[in-house]
């Protein structure tokens, strides 16, 4: 009788870990990011040449190639390009005019992608690292109709120029560059292809060598050296090599930025201009902006930047005699500025973005065609921080002498990527979050305030506590009028279900925690888990020099405070709500052992062994077997509450869990025999509690590990032999004091327990291995406040771009093997063991979304026991709330308020209808009896 009921209950429980259709898209949030776009690889382009709608294409610093809809900032498609892992961090993205493909170049690979849907059209592997990719805009009658060919310049051992067919990706010709000169860039005019090489002179100066090639045959037609007269110290001073314009140019400056030299490629004459100083500061950067179209006017703009201001000069090239002349200059403006070039037919327009103004000029004259004032960019920034534009891309349409519409995307110094339409902010994409390196959850201070006050009352003497309480209530009373005013609205919203959970003023469930993200660029960005669509604050905390990196670690030591510490510096505290730095609370690095922390065991990786010190003296050392290296060490989380010390079986007996807060899972790899070992260690005594070895493992694949409560899990990719299986496996192990119920093993008799004394009998471990369909790159586990709620194992699936929440019951190592579960086991929800574990799509936390490039998943408990907050970062940012054992302490979205009201109303009506009947019947009965 009970059994069918219980199976029904387990069936009912099974979908508890699924994503409900009414919760999806509501409680979860996702930023599909690209990373900071690069100026030279971002542009507006029409994916379909016949339609006017254009998309913004970019190849970002994170090597993500994507198309963004300029209307709302949503991502149309995205491809993560493998950079090849080398430090050669150049990437190229080009689109030919009127083409339905965009061509990317990264590492040594040139690929063409369908501009509308992001599918691969062709790809070619150049033999060396790519130095430049250009599109041949000329038409020589030989190319396939419609598709424009690409030219690639590659370096490496055999530098060469290749012309790649735009339709098929076949190499049409290749020209090997002789000599030891480093390939630098490509440039194409309407008649020739120029390869620009850097030639090192004996005095270590750089000279520019230009090789002209016939675009049809790939034969060298000309070669010459530009006399740069020892003023080019490094290649960094070459500011631009224009491409695909009617007259491509090379421009460079001397190291002190005093003269600008311009050469029209194909000629040997060099025009020299002295750079004016506008203020006392030295010029830090010179940038050149030129149109990218072969039939547009050959005008270009030179952008000068000092620490405090910027200005620009526009030059014209006379095509007949290849003379360069200065046309006009744009005035100096304080702060940084960004210029962008856009073309319409042959006309060229320059758009300037400064701190507070957007303006467009024609390249022909300095008359301003359109000017819009920008009040702010609408992004969160640090207190007193000036948001400045870094670079911009524009699409301009001009009617007569005025700009009729202008769309400009600007990358800001805060890392946001915004779109301005006619000077108004339309959307912003928080691209700085794509480089998040560390994350922590923090409770906002206002939530904590009540808890603190209650604590004061609990610990004070009764009279003082009473006075305190009365005072608190008086203060609370002041909020009554506003509360009463908002009440009707709240009730209506509550019944209509329109109030999102976070609309409530205060956060009684702890869902509105602050998520602080430290980015690689040294910024600290705070998000509200309840209102993820807006950034709370965003401030620069590290002040990194370009190229400098930091390894921050974030923690929330007490509520409302976020502590940032880096390998180099000490911890600095920030207010979680507004990002203010908290003064007077700056800890100093302890030079001497701190008494309060010296009783902790510390670990250091020394060479290839793990060394633990206790009381500042060596405690134990773990040295792997010869030839092995340590892959990773995962300790049990510090804050890992466990509600029950045992597992209560169906017959009311108890299996005692081996609960020790000082255990860790260590993975080592033996590369020669492709073997991996996994050890569960007691981190105080160094004793090995459990160990297992797996042969035939692909050690280049990720080996994620996790440890929580009394269980651990790890995953790996195994290699096949004929008798074994090939693929990915997930191993889960659970440690018990004893496998006999109601028996505490060796610890049962002893009343004292010391972690330092090695137990005579090791605990018992049950493990189970499951075949999983795809690799796991990272494991995490849900956390709740008291640990009563069952746990869910969170696994990042990089192949499916997903995060999957595996209920613990599904992978429970106690699942019976080779037999059907007994009734008792069935009642506990244990199923018969099956070696293949399929990830049910209903377990995908991200459901239909694609979360790409997730590097880590962090979890935090909410204030209510049932719920755990999840935040995943890497390239994308994804967050959600999970209730692994249902939302048992909160009315969820499944609670139908109308149904409840209808039931009450129906009962009321029934009572009123039945009451007279009952009354009559009672009266009748009285009469009958008497």
């Amino acid at each position: 009788m009970l059994l069918p009921l219980l199976t029904a209950v387990t069936l009912f429980l099974a979908p508890a870990c699924a994503v409900f259709s009414d919760e999806a898209w509501n409680i979860d949030y996702h930023f599909a990011l690209l990373g900071a776009p690069k100026e030279e690889t971002s542009f507006f382009h029409r994916p379909n040449p016949s339609s006017k709608a254009s998309l913004i294409y970019t190849l970002s610093e994170e090597h993500a190639l994507g198309a963004v809809n300029p209307r709302d900032g949503s991502l149309v498609w995205r491809q993560i390009l493998a950079s090849g892992g080398d430090s050669h961090n150049t990437s190229f993205l080009r689109a030919g005019e009127g083409q339905d493909v965009v061509i990317s170049g990264i590492g040594s690979e040139v690929a063409a992608w369908s501009a509308a849907d992001g599918r691969l059209v062709w790809n070619v592997n150049a033999d060396g690292p790519l130095e430049d990719v250009e599109i041949l805009e000329l038409s020589d009658g030989k190319e396939t109709v419609g598709a424009k060919d690409a030219v690639a310049l590659s370096g490496g051992e055999h530098p060469m120029v290749q012309r790649i067919d735009g339709a098929s990706g076949a190499v049409k010709w290749q020209y090997s560059i002789d000599g030891s000169d480093a390939p630098y860039q490509l440039s194409a005019s309407s008649t020739e292809v120029y390869a620009i090489l850097l030639h090192k002179t004996i005095l270590d100066y750089v000279k520019l060598r230009v090789v002209a090639l016939d675009p049809v045959t790939g034969q060298k037609t000309d070669e010459y050296m530009l006399s740069s007269e020892n003023e080019l110290a490094t290649a960094d001073n070459v500011i631009s090599v224009g491409a695909n314009s009617a007259s491509p140019i090379i421009a460079w400056t001397d190291a002190a930025h005093t003269t600008l030299k311009v050469n029209v490629v194909g000629t040997k004459s060099i025009s020299s201009f002295s750079i004016e100083r506008h203020d006392g500061n030295a010029i830090e950067r010179v940038k050149l902006h030129a149109p990218y179209h072969i039939n547009s006017l050959s005008h270009f703009l030179v952008h000068y930047e000092t620490a405090t201001s910027h200005w620009a000069e526009v030059y014209h090239i006379d095509l007949k005699n290849s003379k360069v002349e200065k046309a006009y200059s744009l005035p100096r403006v304080a702060g940084r500025g960004a210029f962008s070039t856009s073309t319409a037919d042959a006309n060229v327009y320059f758009t300037r973005v400064t701190r507070d103004e957007l303006s467009t000029v024609s390249s022909a004259s300095h008359g301003i065609l359109g000017r819009w004032s920008l009040s702010s960019f609408g992004v969160a920034s640090g207190v007193g921080e000036q948001v400045e534009p870094v670079h911009a891309v524009s699409e301009v349409s001009v009617k007569g002498d005025t700009v009729s519409a202008i769309r400009t995307t600007v990358l800001l110094s805060t890392g946001d990527w915004v779109l301005l339409r006619d000077g108004k902010g339309i959307w912003n994409r928080p691209e700085m979050l794509a480089s998040t390196v560390a994350v922590t959850f923090a409770m906002p201070a206002d939530v904590v305030a009540l808890a603190q006050q209650l604590e004061v009352e609990a610990h004070g003497n009764p009279v003082a506590a009473y006075i305190h309480r009365v005072q608190r209530h008086v203060v609370d009373l002041q909020k009554l009028p506003s509360f009463l005013v908002s009440m009707p609205k709240k009730i209506v919203q509550g019944f209509l279900g329109t109030s999102a959970d976070h609309a409530a003023g205060s956060d009684i469930f702890g869902f509105r925690q602050i998520i602080a993200c430290a980015t690689r660029s040294g910024r600290l960005v705070a998000l509200d888990a309840g209102h993820p669509d807006r950034t709370l604050w965003n401030r620069d905390v590290a002040d990194l020099k370009p190229g400098q990196s930091w390894r921050p670690s974030l923690s929330s030591t007490k509520d409302g405070v976020i502590q940032v510490s880096s390998a180099a510096g000490t911890g600095i505290n920030y207010n979680a709500t507004d990002g203010q730095q908290l003064a007077g609370d700056l800890p100093i690095i302890p030079d001497e052992p701190d008494l309060s922390t010296s009783r902790a065991v510390r670990y250091t990786m020394r060479g290839n062994s793990l060394e633990a010190t206790y009381d500042w003296s060596p405690s134990w050392t773990f040295t792997p077997i010869h030839g092995e290296r340590i892959l990773n060490l995962v300790p049990r989380p510090v804050n890992d509450p466990v509600a029950s010390i045992g597992k209560v079986l169906r017959d009311r007996r108890v299996l005692y869990k081996y609960l020790d807060s000082n255990i860790a899972l260590l993975a080592t790899a033996h590369d020669a025999s492709s073997k991996a070992n996994f050890y569960v260690l007691n981190t105080i005594s160094g004793a090995i509690i459990y160990s297992n070895a797996h042969p035939n493992i692909d050690l280049t694949a990720p080996v994620p590990t996790i440890m929580s409560e009394n269980w651990f899990a790890y995953s790996f990719t195994s290699e096949a032999s004929d008798a074994t299986t090939k693929g990915h496996q997930l191993v889960i192990g659970e440690v018990f004091e004893s496998l006999i119920p109601d028996n505490r093993g060796a610890m049962g008799a002893s009343s004292n327990y010391s972690t330092l004394q090695t137990a005579t009998d090791p605990p018992f471990t049950l493990t189970q291995t499951y075949q999983i369909p795809e690799p796991i790159s990272q494991l995490a586990v849900t956390r709740t406040r008291q640990g009563i709620t069952s746990r869910q194992l969170l696994a990042v699936l990089p192949a499916s771009n997903a995060i999957v929440g595996i209920p613990y019951g599904i992978v429970d190592p106690r699942r019976p093997v080779n037999r059907d579960p007994t009734k008792d086991e069935q009642a506990e929800g244990l199923m018969r063991y099956a070696p293949v574990l399929d990830f049910d799509p209903k377990w995908y936390l991200n459901h239909q979304r694609e979360v790409v490039g997730i590097k880590n998943v962090v979890t935090a408990p909410a204030l209510i026991e049932s719920t755990s907050l999840v935040f995943a970062y890497g390239l994308d940012v994804f967050g959600t709330r999970l209730s692994p054992s249902f939302s048992f302490d909160i009315l969820g979205r499944d609670f139908n308020k109308f149904q409840m009201l209808a039931t009450v109303a129906a009962l009321a009506v029934a009572t009123f209808v039945v009451a007279p009947l009952v009354m009559r019947k009672q009266v009748d009965q009285r009469w009958r009896f008497l």
Binding site: P15, A18, V19, F20, S21, D22, A24, W77, R78, Q79, L81, A82, G84, G85, G107, E109, A111, S114, D117, G118, R119, L120, V121, N123, N125, S674, I697, D698, L699, T700, A701, T717, E719, A720, S721, D722, A723, T724, T725, K726, G727, Q771, P773, E774, A799, S800, N801, A834, P835, V836, P841, K842, Y844, H847, Q848, E850, V852, D894, N896, Q899
Partner: protein
């Protein structure tokens, strides 16, 4: 797109090896009538021996191409946002006739089974193999809640029982009233004799159960005082 770690292996194998694999996704109604609707993130992965892994994004013509495969036994998996695809085993071996060409073979494989357990044969070719792979099922991400349904509600046994008893309570008096007098008398008699009613009926016994007496060890004293309860209708 090749993962670079495979390049080292590639360089090691002779460039003459020209084992190519092209996997195409045909239109397979009703599951996937238009393969061009697959997300651009759809990609195929060939996992070879440790360190050898090739990855290919979907092309405009709904294919994945793997050029220049090294000799090995591979696991081919197609990952898509909306569909599951069966895993395949792809073997690249030296051709039997000793030429430079290599033989590419493909079978279906089964997870959790030994690697030698091969499923349906997908094809074999020298040099270049073209196979077709169809999705096995669509991914369904969402769990619908059992919403409120008035018919289901009424159908539930509890409600049915309640409704029947309500019908009896209200309907009985009318049936009794409309009964013919003889029938009614007979019915009354029957009720008196019935096991649940009457002075010796279970209901009456239960109601008049003398718990104190029973505890005191007395016998069936319930007969006494079973008064006029039977008089009630």
């Amino acid at each position: 797109m090749l993962v670079l770690k495979s390049l080292a292996v590639l360089a090691g194998t002779s460039l003459a090896s020209a084992a190519n694999l092209t996997v195409s996704i045909p239109s397979s109604p009703p599951l996937l009538p238009n393969p061009s609707s697959l997300a651009p993130s759809t990609h195929a992965v060939l996992i070879g021996p440790p360190g050898v892994q090739y990855e290919a994004p979907i092309r405009r013509d709904n294919t994945f191409t793997f050029p220049d495969l090294a000799e090995a036994s591979y696991l081919l998996t197609v990952h898509s946002r909306d569909y599951f695809f069966p895993p395949l085993r792809v073997d690249v071996t030296k051709a039997a006739d000793g030429t430079q060409q290599e033989t590419v073979q493909a079978w279906q494989t089964f997870r959790g089974n030994e690697w030698s357990n091969k499923g349906p044969f997908y094809g074999s070719s020298n040099g270049e193999l073209k196979i077709q792979i169809q999705p096995s099922s669509q991914k369904n991400f969402y769990q619908d809640r059992g919403g409120f349904n008035i018919i289901d509600f009424v159908k539930s046994p509890m409600i049915l029982m309640a409704l029947v008893s309500v019908a009896f309570i209200f309907g009985m008096p009318y049936i009794m009233d409309n009964m013919d007098p003889e029938m009614k008398e007979e019915f009354d008699d029957m009720q008196k004799k019935g096991p649940l009613s009457g002075s010796s009926g279970a209901a009456a016994q239960l109601r008049n159960f003398d718990i104190a007496g029973w505890l005191a060890g007395k016998g069936s004293t319930t007969e006494q005082g079973a008064g006029d309860t039977s008089k009630k209708r």
